[in-house]
Symmetry: C2
Subunit: 208 residues, 2 copies
DNA sequence: ACCTGAACACCGTTCAAGT
DNA sequence: ACCTGAACACCGTTCAAGT
């Protein structure tokens, strides 16, 4: 018993997160357990708690890695600096593409809920903010005359909307209207929202 | 032991679902368990399986009741037949209102995932379809010249978008940009999307 | 027919004990 | 210092046994 030192602390963290990702990819977040993780890496339950505070901590760290991967995809989508309207479309497509290819890991980001009162670490929020900044940046290029406040609001509305299409699209429960692909619905949202944002001086509520 | 007959099958179902709703309202879907439900209603574990196939079945039935409540709220929101643009806004506000006041039960609808391969019963899908029809109907009134296909697509895009704003708004993880309320972001989405839908003959992608 | 409670196979987390 | 494995308090589900 005890003191094997097969792996450094950091190595242990790495293989545990890898195992967790594989388990989630195979069976979804609900299929993840501490005992499955340690069995997969050849350790016993207790040792997990040397590296992670608890299962929630492990999941948050796993989700941070998923955010990193997602962020990379978004970054390459706008790497060749297309015009802003196309860039926004490319960002949306990259988001959908990631959700499509990495569905369980992507879902885990939103499925996991910390116990009441606990919040996600700053590093997590920063990654989310970084991705969000990509959208905001393109929107600012698209609408140079709008105030920063307007841009922030619009970016949030647009990105939340795209996320909504994705999340409902993947929820077979909500597969209410057949036929339409996630990409089609997203295009509708993008087309009309951006047209409205740029085309009219005043929002609907101030007309009539 | 055995044969108490304190309650009929239907009564047992009712008090079990009620207990489940109270548990979810208090501690969220993760705080729900078969054993807590039966303890709360004064029965033992086994008896739950006389009325529900398993815990997933109980949750689905509980979520159907939540959909009923939500549907009622949406219906009253358009009961006095306001003009379509206002009706759509009222539907969105009713949705947000329900999410705000019944957060854990509302969240449970989306949080719960059936095991791989299983699907939700038809009665569930029908309720979702019914709510969705409310939006579609108003959108059809707003844009009489659009094809039914266009309307379906637009309704889906718009409603998914509003849902996205809600779901990210309630996720403190994603509270990336401070200051903006869910209602504000929804208004931005509605204003610009509807303006774009009605104001321009061609979507952005077909311009320039 | 209804209901119990023991049984089984799982959980997350802790911690004394071993090297 | 690292790691084990038993222990504890939970799970969901089944089913023989009782009335």
């Amino acid at each position: 018993m005890g003191r094997r030192n097969d792996h450094t602390r950091e190595e242990l963290r790495e293989i545990a997160l890898q195992a967790a990702e594989e388990l989630v990819a195979a069976d979804g977040l609900d299929g993840l357990s501490t005992r499955k993780v340690v069995t997969r890496i050849g350790y016993t339950v207790g040792s997990l708690y040397m590296v992670f505070r608890n299962l929630d901590d492990l999941i948050v760290q796993m989700n941070e890695r998923t955010l990193d991967d997602l962020g990379k995809q978004l970054t390459v989508a706008v790497a060749d600096q297309p015009p802003p309207a196309q860039a926004i479309r490319a960002l949306a497509q990259a988001y959908i593409g990631f959700a499509l290819t990495e569905t369980p890991r992507w879902l885990a980001i939103y499925q996991h809920r910390l116990p009441e009162g606990q919040t996600v670490p700053d590093s997590f929020s920063e990654k989310v903010a970084g991705m969000f900044a990509l959208v905001q940046q393109q929107l600012a290029l698209l609408c140079p005359c709008r105030s920063p406040d307007d841009i922030t609001l619009a970016a949030r509305a647009l990105w939340s909307g795209i996320h909504g299409v994705c999340i409902l699209g993947f929820d077979q429960k909500l597969e209410f209207v057949g036929g339409r692909s996630i990409a089609e619905v997203t295009d509708s949202l993008l087309d009309h929202y951006l047209a409205g944002l740029m085309g009219l001086g005043y929002p609907l509520s101030q007309q009539a």
